[in-house]
């Protein structure tokens, strides 16, 4: 079946450095993707989204890149802070439901 997944289950980054979290998807018809952040014991928190008619979108300290050719998207976090430590999920939104990837745990090293 169709799936959404992440490349690395864990990632450690020095505070102040940039981080890149990757995600692959299999459904070529997917047209809307979202990155969520989940802190321990909390629900997924919306970070940024992107539609398939775009290949890049920027927010505050975050950038999402979408490569439809290879069905890959990434989340870049600039100048990481301790509060960025969390699990990050990419999700595909279609037919009113979100299909989540497996998540990458990002740890910011002070």
């Amino acid at each position: 079946g169709e799936s959404v997944g992440l490349h690395l289950p864990t990632l450690s980054v020095q505070e102040g450095d940039n981080s890149i979290i990757n995600c692959a998807y299999s459904n070529s018809a997917s047209d809307y993707f979202i990155w969520y952040k989940q802190e321990s014991g909390k629900g997924p928190q919306f970070i940024i989204d992107i539609r398939s008619n775009m290949d890049k979108r920027q927010g505050q300290r975050v950038t999402v890149l979408l490569n439809k050719t290879v069905k890959h998207l990434s989340l870049q976090i600039a100048a990481t802070q301790p509060g960025d430590s969390a699990v990050y999920f990419c999700a595909e939104n279609s037919n009113e439901k979100l299909t989540f990837g497996t998540g990458t745990r990002l740890t910011i090293i002070p």
């Binding site: 809307y32 979202i34 014991g41 999920f89 279609s94 439901k97 299909t99």
Partner: protein, 117 residues
């Protein structure tokens, strides 16, 4: 900032018992969802609800599950006869638009941790 709230935060129940998980979506939202997350696994879609009826459900959402919007503010998930494998974190979410349209972003509540013994 408006947010989705859920009660209780934790629920422990015996196998075979009924549980009702409660959610108060963001007030102007029209679309409501339940997801679950088994410990250490990814978040899984259960059901979406719009205009007082289920619009989409997953294979997980079998006859033991039901949803209801009993009044203008609450949205509930009922599990009739809980099984051990129902132990998970249950998240409610809401949005103010259909997928592909404006306002489709789903906002999640903090979750209810359900433990079935």
């Amino acid at each position: 900032e408006p947010e989705v709230t859920q009660t209780p935060s934790h629920q422990v129940t015996q196998m075979g018992q009924e549980v009702i998980l409660r959610c108060v979506p963001i007030s102007n939202h029209l679309y409501f969802y339940w997801y679950r997350q088994i410990l250490g696994q990814k978040v899984e879609f259960l059901v979406s609800f719009y205009n007082n009826e289920i619009s989409e459900k997953s294979e997980i959402f079998d006859d033991q599950f039901s949803v209801e919007r009993p009044d203008g503010s609450n949205f509930t998930l009922k599990i009739r006869s809980t099984k051990l494998e129902d132990s998970a974190m249950y998240f409610c979410a809401s949005s103010d638009g259909l997928a592909g349209g404006p306002g489709e972003t789903q906002y999640f509540g903090p979750g209810t941790r359900l433990l079935v013994l």
